[in-house]
């Protein structure tokens, strides 16, 4: 990384100075020391404790990762450090020592001198974290202007230098652009520039890459890590992804339900997890290096075993797609109409009872391909065969017949269930639509389906809002199976769920396939998930299929450069290999 525009680093702002830190080599005194931190949120239903008695240390020059699932309080802890809690949040108890200050007792005005200069924040979602009506350079320069570190003119030049340091190509050009003109990855770099502009000694990175594609994620994290190594800045990295934490952090803090359940050196924690929850997290983290599906106890029930030749290999194709093309008209640009080829000459074959995974990053055309197969949108050209019949231009009754045999599970279980209907009504909807059975028969079927997806029959009466994300996704699966379809398209079915819930849902899908012989067209950005469930994998990029093959071959000997890049970008290479064994033996 060359840094042509970089200047002499300014001396650190005096406020958070720690006497022992002047030489920047002291590693024994924590830079940030949290003791007994408790945070609660006041909601309409009363006060809810989000963080309970958390102790946490961040040492200078180190990356400390806080890992946990949603609702574990990890993000709240990170925000409590700079006292930027969401509305209704209250610091109930504890101390947050940073340098010689206790941040809990500082006034709002004193805090402002710490924010930006002492502690920088890299927020969660780069797409909404920059002010849409201000230029990038202006937003970076603002940090310097606020703290009086540069004059207006000097700040503008400095901002370009900082953007360059944050790894944004063409920094001088980008500085004059607005956020919407930059990609997600570039925006995250701009936000990193905002965080590092005033050379803070601690950077809080709150899920800094979870909204980004995996290849972008790797580059960003690499860069963040390099920055810390160069300037011995400490990072408090909040993540739900154990793989990311394992790769990047020297120290690991595992949180569950607002409490720290385990903390220590990353290597130690991973090699010998003490707490049951940590072991569970490790066990359910989908991994590429761990033993394949064979070693994962539950999934062995699925009819896919590397050791056993696939009987379905010779089964007839259920879906065949040939030379499929889908073009979208872009909104009128200055130069007249332009079109976007979302799907470009795609050919796929999915056999009965098998799972074909479509893998790719956002914008690769994988979801559009699935929607084309289901005839939810019309192809520009190409051919789609369903069970031998050409459905490319199917209309009316023919499409309805297709709907009966091909169902869909969506990514976001919060949006895919009508909030006004009861679960019983949701599940019986396909039955109603095709006039299957009378009311009582349909409810019987719904009860049966709920049982299959391991939900209690009482769920029938409940409403989507009363269920958790994992439960809702089970309901969506039950709905998809109601008509006993031949094909279910799963559009990122687990990416909105926590890892432990993810693995349960994947197991369920595999089990159901074994029982009913349904075929899945499985769309995912997550190669690790795909590896668990697929018989065939197709890697998509920019609308094209770049490589297809069984997962074992594809993962062991990727032929296409992009597949290799994708594989290399997956975090978690440092996760201990015999994960499953540790979980079961200790």
């Amino acid at each position: 990384m060359t840094r042509p525009g970089r200047r002499e680093r300014r001396s650190r702002p005096p406020v958070p100075a720690h006497p022992l830190d002047e030489n920047g080599t002291d590693m024994t005194t924590p830079l940030l020391e949290i003791r007994g931190l408790s945070v609660s949120y006041r909601t309409r239903g009363g006060t809810v404790a989000a963080v309970r008695g958390v102790d946490l240390d961040v040492f200078p020059g180190q990356v400390t990762a806080v890992v946990g699932e949603s609702g574990s309080g990890k993000s709240t802890t990170a925000h409590a450090v700079i006292r930027l809690l969401a509305a209704g949040g209250m610091l109930d108890a504890g101390t947050i020592r940073f340098g010689r200050h206790d941040l809990v007792t500082l006034s709002e005005a004193e805090l402002r001198t710490v924010r930006g200069t002492g502690i920088g924040l890299v927020p969660q979602d780069p797409t909404v974290s920059l002010n849409p009506v201000k230029r990038i350079g202006e937003q970076v320069a603002e940090v310097l202007r606020i703290h009086g570190l540069a004059t207006r003119r000097a700040a503008a030049a400095e901002a370009v230098a900082v953007l360059d340091r944050a790894g944004l190509p063409d920094a001088a050009v980008r500085a004059r652009q607005y956020p919407h003109e930059l990609s997600g990855g570039m925006r995250q770099r701009a936000l990193i520039a905002v965080a590092i502009a005033a050379n803070p000694r601690l950077i809080i990175a709150d899920e800094p890459t979870s909204a980004l594609d995996v290849t972008v994620q790797r580059v960003i994290l690499d860069h963040l890590q390099r920055l810390t190594e160069e300037s011995d800045t400490a990072i408090l990295l909040v993540t739900h992804d154990l793989g990311v934490a394992a790769d990047r952090a020297q120290r690991l803090v595992v949180m569950e339900q607002g409490r720290v359940v385990e903390a220590g050196e990353t290597a130690t924690v991973l090699a010998d997890p003490q707490h049951a929850y940590t072991r569970r997290l490790l066990a359910s983290a989908p991994s590429l290096t761990g033993p394949s599906a064979a070693a994962r106890a539950p999934i062995t029930t699925a009819p896919r075993d590397a050791s056993r030749p696939e009987p379905a290999e010779s089964s007839p194709p259920l879906v065949e797609v040939r030379h499929l093309v889908k073009e979208f008209r872009l909104p009128r640009a200055a130069g007249g109409h332009r079109t976007l080829r979302a799907v470009d000459d795609v050919g796929l074959t999915l056999r009965r009872g098998q799972t074909l995974a479509l893998v790719g990053e956002s914008g690769s055309g994988k979801s559009t391909t699935a929607r084309l197969v289901l005839r939810l949108t019309d192809p520009t050209s190409g051919q789609i065969l369903f069970d031998g019949a050409d459905v490319t231009t199917a209309k009316g009754a023919q499409v309805r017949q297709l709907r009966r045999r091909a169902q869909l599970i969506y990514q976001n279980p919060y949006a895919s269930l009508d909030p006004r209907l009861s679960i019983g009504e949701v599940i019986t909807e396909p039955l109603r639509a095709f006039g299957v059975g009378d009311r009582a028969a349909r409810l019987d079927r719904a009860r049966d389906l709920l049982d299959r997806v391991a939900l209690p029959a009482a769920t029938l009466e409940r409403r989507p809002a009363e269920l958790s994300g994992g439960q809702r996704q089970r309901v969506a699966i039950a709905r998809a199976l109601a008509l006993s379809p031949d094909l279910v398209v799963c559009d990122e079915p687990v990416s909105a769920l926590d890892v432990s819930v993810q693995s349960q849902v994947l197991e369920l899908l595999a089990e159901l396939q074994a029982d009913t012989g349904v075929a899945y067209l499985f769309i995912s950005h997550d190669l690790a998930v795909v590896r668990q469930i697929a018989h065939q994998v197709a890697v998509m990029r920019a609308g094209r299929v770049v490589e297809t093959g069984p997962p074992a071959d594809l993962f062991a000997e990727p032929r296409h450069a992009y597949t290799r890049e994708l594989l290399a970008a997956i975090p978690g290479s440092r996760l201990p290999v015999p994960v499953a064994d540790t979980a079961t033996t200790s």
Binding site: Q257, E429, P464, D498
Partner: protein, 307 residues
């Protein structure tokens, strides 16, 4: 493994900036829903007062004799221009008629006009919006261009043009006011139908084979209705204002009838010596509008729009 990991926990810790969480407030059963609604109202004194005011106005419209025994049309000339007192709460006018009684009896005329206006706007506008939003393509284009045109003519001018064409009178004024707010109903109804139509759960219904009418009836209309109903409640308030403005200008019911706008207009001539003739009837109008707007806001808020 504990499925319950997520239960409650997701609600428990609203971490800052979690965009992927469109949590809807948990709609409980119907019986508890009623009790909740009651508690919701009782905890908000302003809202409670508003509901009371509206109940009183509706009662006044149907049973004015519950509130006053005095004749709104017959006056005692010797008792003209009396200020507000125990026997005449709102005082008396130039003919010695009891103003309170005239306001109470006027409620019927004004309420009737308001309801007609909202009904016209709701039915015509809602239909236009639902058809445009659900059909899409050229139908949507044509209908919405028409709505744009209606919007481009200031509402009062449109009402005045209608009054010029139709003539004077309470019902005609009401229809004119209703036509003027057709456009905003069409806009909101269409926007809501479009929003819901594009919701994932509607596509889920479509992909599970539901026909278009079942999608419309089961998913789209129930989920789109909320904001349109809120708009209707808000429109009650603005219709009261518009109807009274038109009758203030003299296009409403002919003179002896005690329409609210007319009452204020009559009082205008005696502004310097009998303030109560304008101030108190106007207060009744303002209180009614304020009450309907407060209820509309509560309806809107209950749908989770406001924090």
């Amino acid at each position: 493994m504990s499925q319950s990991l997520l239960d409650g926990q997701a609600e428990a810790a609203p971490g800052p900036a979690r965009p992927l969480d469109p949590r809807t407030p948990s709609p409980a059963g119907r019986v508890t829903g009623l009790r909740q609604a009651l508690r919701f109202v009782l905890r908000r004194p302003g809202l409670l007062l508003s509901v009371v005011v509206l109940v009183l106005v509706v009662l006044a419209a149907f049973r004015p004799e519950l509130f006053t025994s005095q004749d709104p049309l017959k006056g005692v000339p010797s008792q003209n221009f009396r200020g507000p007192s125990g026997s005449h709460w709102f005082g008396t006018d130039e003919l010695g008629r009891d103003v309170f009684s005239r306001v109470v009896h006027g409620a019927q005329l004004s309420l009737k006009a308001t309801l007609i206006a909202v009904l016209v706007a709701f039915v015509v506008g809602g239909l236009l919006g639902v058809v445009a939003g659900f059909t899409g393509r050229w139908v949507d284009d044509v209908l919405m261009r028409f709505v744009d045109i209606l919007l481009s003519i200031p509402a009062l001018f449109l009402s005045l043009a209608m009054v010029t064409a139709l003539g004077y009178g309470t019902v005609k004024v009401a229809v004119a006011v209703g036509i003027a707010s057709v456009a905003s109903f069409a806009r909101v109804a269409r926007a809501e139908v479009l929003r819901v139509r594009q919701a994932v759960f509607v596509e889920a219904a479509r992909s599970s084979g539901a026909r278009w009418y079942s999608m419309l009836a089961r998913h789209v209309l129930p989920n789109a209705a909320g904001p349109v109903v809120v708009l209707a409640t808000l429109d009650l308030g603005s219709s009261i204002l518009a109807v009274s403005a038109l009758s203030f200008l003299g296009y409403g019911a002919p003179p002896p009838a005690p329409e609210w706008g007319t009452l204020i207009s009559d009082g205008r001539n005696y502004l310097s010596n009998a303030w109560w003739l304008t101030a108190l009837p106007g207060l009744a109008v303002a209180a009614t509008v304020l009450a309907t707007n407060r209820v509309a806001r509560a309806l809107d808020g209950e749908r989770g729009r406001r924090p």
